[in-house]
Symmetry: C2
């Protein structure tokens, strides 16, 4: 590939005028390693900060706009309603109205049911379905997500709260604590969003969430099943229930497949509620012991601003519970977004949900977030914009104003059925199976969360999920992958010998690729691992009477970054190799790496002529030497008075106090010492 040297050379000289770094290699067809001038520190910091906090570059369109326009665009960004409301028309409204009515008919019974999970009176859930969607409609980015109380958060909140205050005995206190928790959940979410810390949620792996959701669904489901067994002796209701359930299940599943049938699953709950309520009413089954909803308070949300604890012991509890519930809510939102493939600004969503819950906590609502079941229905009903949320909220408002009393006779059994069918959405066995197939460790995380939730508690399940996820990351950062490369016959391509069986090895040369950034967590390991490759290769060479290894080519292409510990490890590697008169060559270091090799002066220690653009170039460089025609020109190691090498001292004085003691280990066989 000797072509185009001249013009490249020509161009290069011109670059070097632009102070571009270049490492010329006489034996590499004029193809040299390059790097641009290093960025200034502020520029670097700004760059990093941008990637950390604004990877999606949300305020992009504002760039280069006049102040006023910028403000407008920012408002639009903050309140998407200003954007989509323009060009809103009747057709869209029709779709939204239908969708809104449908989710309303689904959400009212669900709310009544979920409130029970949180040990609260039904109206508080309805309040939440009235206020929260309105707020979200203004600030939210997604048009599908249907906002309101959800099963998992409700039960989590219920569990956490009743650990602190008894929901029956000290009712008022419990309620106040609930509002407090909701308030801080909101503050927590809003803060995460505002400070662009959304990526924290990423530490909850997809696998863990799948497991967590499944576990929560089953826990809730089992809890509710009790609701049935309690009324076995009443044929009528049981019939209704069983009928409803037997209708429900297939429909619910049918809906998943056949989009035309979604409305059946959507209005089924309302119908079953109406029917069952009616039956209970005319038969007065409640007198005969059928558990019913009883009184639901009529009227709109009272203010609850005065009820939030901003001091006292409950403040801390509220904070803690709020943080958990808030995180939980965000996690659900994220999962939902993931499951429905949203390209949303997660941080902005959090800000919206946070604001929503803060306002909610001031108007007698408890934690609301995006609901799986309702959002799916909302989507299938063909909503166009968040207006469907507004419609739903209006319907709930009317319900609160007019018809809540009618729910008095609704039997709990039906609500139980509704909850069960709703949480079925959360169980994703298929996903779990894929996780098993793809990544066993992920599956462990998934199962850990699942079993933790089922056998211990929802909080613990969440904790387990986080811990396992973290363990995985820690293992990942302490153990990077390395691969021995071989040449694909008849090409200049070098690939992992384990992957490509036909690769051929170059006699006397070992090529190792390091497959990750070298940081302090894996620097030691990286060095040890490379030396192990070398050791194994040498032994193999010895056994097969092949030319002994004289060159180690370390391929740095995948090494996106390196830190001082990493450089340190390279220094040590270099010294270890020098002692055995093995030459170290580097191939294709990236921008970051080459910069750091330079600033640490390692580049001088290894020699500029030992850094190549491609593996092929590196191999060409050592091939003649490997074939034993000429000895390596590098000087042998300096040795101290005691006849022990001082190479490291020579190589890089400030890394060590004395000389490297690498040789010592040879004292016993357990350790090969380079």
């Amino acid at each position: 590939m000797g072509h185009s040297i001249t013009d490249e050379a020509g161009r290069r000289s011109e670059y070097s005028l632009k102070s571009r770094g270049v490492i010329e290699n006489p034996n590499s067809d004029g193809r040299n390693v390059e790097w641009p001038p290093r960025k200034s520190l502020p520029a670097e910091i700004a760059q990093t900060a941008k990637e950390i906090f604004f990877p999606d570059d949300p305020l992009r369109p504002c760039k280069g706009q006049p102040r006023s326009k910028q403000l407008l665009l920012f408002l639009r960004y903050l309140f998407p309603i200003f954007e989509w409301s323009r060009g809103y028309n009747l057709t869209k409204f029709k779709g939204d109205a239908i969708a809104g009515l449908t989710i309303a008919s689904l959400c009212i019974p669900q709310d009544i049911a979920y409130a029970k999970l949180a040990n609260l009176e039904p109206q508080y859930a309805l309040y939440a379905s009235f206020v929260a969607p309105l707020v979200y409609a203004f600030m939210g980015s997604s048009r599908d997500i249907a906002i309101g109380p959800v099963a998992v958060v409700s039960i989590l909140l219920g569990n956490l709260l009743q650990d602190e205050v008894d929901p029956i005995e000290s009712k008022a206190e419990y309620l106040r604590l609930a509002f407090t928790a909701t308030f801080f959940a909101g503050v927590f979410q809003a803060a995460l969003g505002f400070f662009r810390l959304g990526f924290i949620i990423d530490f909850l792996s997809h696998a863990a969430i799948i497991g967590f959701m499944g576990g929560a669904a089953i826990t809730i489901g089992l809890q509710q099943l009790k609701g049935f067994l309690g009324i076995r002796n009443f044929t009528k209701d049981t019939d209704i229930v069983s009928v409803m359930r037997s209708v429900w299940r297939p429909v619910h599943h049918g809906a998943k497949k056949n989009k035309k049938l979604f409305w059946v699953s959507a209005i089924a709950p309302l119908i079953s509620v109406i029917v069952s309520t009616f039956f209970v009413y005319i038969t007065r089954a409640d007198k005969k012991g059928v558990a019913i909803v009883n009184h639901i308070k009529k009227g709109l949300n009272p203010s609850s601003a005065s009820q939030i604890y901003f001091s006292g012991p409950h403040l801390k509890q509220g904070l803690r519970i709020g943080a958990i519930a808030g995180m939980e809510g965000v996690a659900i939102g994220r999962t939902f977004a993931a499951m429905k493939d949203y390209q949303l600004d997660g941080n902005k969503e959090m800000l919206a949900m946070g604001t929503m819950n803060v306002i909610g906590s001031l108007t007698s609502c408890y934690v609301a977030t995006g609901s799986f079941s309702r959002s799916a229905v909302n989507y299938m009903a063909g909503c166009w914009t968040p207006v469907s949320n507004i419609v739903m909220s209006m319907v709930v408002m009317l319900t609160l104003l007019v018809i809540t009393p009618l729910f008095k006779y609704t039997p709990n059994a039906v609500l139980a059925a509704i909850i069960i069918s709703a949480v079925l959405y959360l169980i994703d066995i298929e996903a779990a199976y894929t996780i098993w197939k793809v990544d066993k460790f992920d599956f462990v995380a998934c199962m850990g969360a699942f079993l933790g939730v089922i056998f211990i508690s929802i909080e613990i399940g969440l904790l387990i999920a986080v811990c396992i996820s973290f363990t995985k990351i820690l293992l990942h950062v302490t153990r990077l992958k390395t691969a021995k490369l071989g040449k694909l016959p008849g090409t200049t391509i070098y690939r992992n010998v384990e992957q490509y069986a036909e690769t051929i090895k170059i006699p006397g040369v070992l090529i190792v690729r390091v497959d990750a950034a070298i940081y302090f967590t894996n620097a030691n390991y990286a060095r040890e691992r490379i030396l192990r490759w070398l050791r194994d290769e040498q032994e193999r060479a010895k056994e097969n009477k092949e030319t002994e290894i004289k060159f180690l080519i370390v391929v740095l292409s995948p090494v996106s970054d390196i830190d001082t510990s990493g450089i340190h490890a390279l220094e040590e590697l270099l010294v270890s190799l020098k002692k055995h008169d093995i030459q170290l060559l580097l191939s294709n270091p990236g921008v970051e790496v080459i910069h750091k090799l330079q600033s640490s002066e390692f580049i001088e220690h290894i020699g500029r002529d030992r850094i190549f653009l491609t593996v092929e170039d590196a191999v060409k460089a050592c091939a003649p030497e490997a074939s034993g025609l000429r000895r390596p020109q590098r000087p042998p190691v300096v040795t101290s008075a005691q006849g022990r090498p001082l190479a490291l001292a020579a190589a890089n004085s400030h890394w060590c106090l004395g000389s490297p003691a690498t040789g010592h280990g040879r004292a016993w066989p357990g350790h090969w010492r380079p």
Copy 2:
């Protein structure tokens, strides 16, 4: 490079018999992506476990040996003394004896001084210098490390202990707690080593340790300076001290440069102690207020087994302090090994040090570890084996038996001077400067630890160091690097356009390389970032009236692994691209990745003919299409009744409940939606 297709093809058929995976690409000169049959689950687990716990393969020589031989080799591995003692001769002993005497002369005064830092009587440090080195000589792997009490651990232990118990008022209790802490420090170290958890220490970055050590050194130094000022009014001692110091400093530095002078720095402390003690004795300066050591108990270590708290409130304190001190001791050992470029089995070293401290705690010693200053001297004095430690320990024993009383008149000022000169070894400004040059974030960690130790406390400094190190790792795992590639003119090489300015772009094709394993922590970001590259590229194309982007080649070479979230992100990416009729091509996936792409069926969704061995092949595959000659054959996206795409549902049903809502965001300009 069309050559050798046939023989390759020939070979391949033979591989496929061996069930090797192969993805044939018609348009890639018969160079195809391959992968070996997937490992069985147990094999995979074993492999992973080995890399995590036995990366250095310590029991290697035992393999394939008869049982008895294995046991022998294991014993040798556990007690290296059996290894190096064979072939031990007089010459070696001479070297060891000299070295041993030298470090003994250094360690005795140091011990007396360090004991003060731990608020203990001098003999306890001497005890530690008698027992610990003996144990280490049997189990330790390093021949240079001189074992004994060290300044940093002593002061740390002192701080921690006096927070719990007053060292003056409740002396006995304090002593017992010290032994307890030492015991648990040992247990902790031994456990870490035994369970091969040494890599935990790697989370303390080199930079952090440099900072921590510097801070500790300065704190200790300043503390000791008080020692001088207290005796300014006494010409004689001051003279001795200042003389000693003025001799000392240059010598100490000289020693660093001129190896021949090491012995001066080595024996200087002892000489100054003897001289000053003598002067104080004849002048009775102590009567005039010169602080002196006073009584040192004569005789060997009494047993302290009965004194260790195995119950009661002190147990927990002992555990906590022990853990910290133990971690500290290990960290120092590691730093030392790093600074002196040891190739040691860190885990085995910990086991040795742990055993050493456990035995120590039963024989009235407090935490001992490898000492910087003494080890350096030991090395320079030309020790050959750990026998130098034995010699030292013998000398200390004699001291304990015979001459300890003579130290009665040793003025504290001299000890202060000795400590100061010893801790100077810990300050490594050069290293700090390199860290600053190489990696700014590391420098922050370094300074954080440094300032934390100086201005708050040693424990807090350690804590800060760990926290900053962790933050770095978390940022690293949430934000992977990506690069846009271009073709080097006249080659088939593709490189980062930011690094190589002369790269040329292929019209209509965007090539992005992902530079790290794709895990749940960075999967979302990876997808967003790739889409951002695409967005920017499309806009640039629009501005410059270039052919619009029709192909996205994602280069997976550096992606060593991918998990379910990663696959999920790829699925989402695929869908997003399909909507815009942009084709996704993958280049050079590794073994892990290709296996997981398969098991998740992603490979079917993207199409087997969309995966290439090299970027060049991928480019060739799309070049004709890119030039607009023929349209892509992939079918357009399926759309739902509402005219909204159901691509993801089609692509991979179990990832989502409904259809991707990707398109929605287009509602407002803040977000480009692929």
